[in-house]
């Protein structure tokens, strides 16, 4: 179980990386901001940053407009 964008999600966290989560949820946007428990995860760290049980994960899709 993790908290994804303020919602509980029953996702197993064994060996779950940020890249794995993005793939699992079909988050295919190029422009993303990912935070785990409030800490920014840099793009080049997605492959080797692991998500733990109960972690609070935020994935923002950045879209144009303003």
């Amino acid at each position: 179980m993790i908290i994804l964008n303020n919602t509980r999600e029953d996702i197993g966290t064994e060996n779950l990386t940020v890249s794995g989560l993005l793939k699992l949820k079909n988050f295919t946007f190029k422009m993303l901001v990912v935070r785990i428990n409030g800490n920014l995860v840099k793009k080049d760290e997605y492959d080797h940053t692991y998500i733990g049980e109960g972690d609070d994960v935020m994935v923002l899709h950045l879209i144009s407009g303003g």
Partner: protein
Amino acid sequence: MNFSEIRNKFGRFTVGIAGAGGLGSNCAAALARIGIGRLIIADFDVVTESNLNRQYYFCDQVGMKKVEALKANLIRINPKTFTEVYEVKLNMTNIPLLFKDCDIIVEAFDLADQKELLISTVLTSMPEKYLVVGLGMAGWGNSNTLSVTESGKLFICGDQVSEISEELPPIAPRVGIVANMQANVVTEIILNKFDK
């Protein structure tokens, strides 16, 4: 809290605004009206006719630098707000320097890659700052899908899905709602989260 108390408290705060387009210009106008002490605004663009469908500029300002035009408009709204403007393109190096005195930073860019740059720079280099982002406001209608998501000191205003396109342009009503949502979040943070 009555309005004179609100205005007194507001006078002690500095808000940074990254971008002086649809979000930034309207958000700045709302904050000046209620007496924000100081605004630090950065933008490198010039006012064009196509901006007038949503941005806080006037016909006779087409061709002016946005930061200069906005400063002039804000002085007309409230000369007591001290407006400091920078005509620069923001990057990882100058963002922390320009906005270091701000209590709150408002992300008001147009393009996704600029939004990403600002958000990741603030979260990395100045994680102690409140950051209010505008995300998803193209088109019209669907007012009820516009909301505020809070995550620590980061606040996201908008529907997070409506991206601009030829058929879904950014226009005054919906962009104005999100710009004012950002100003409303800033107001809430100042009044509820700060004791100074």
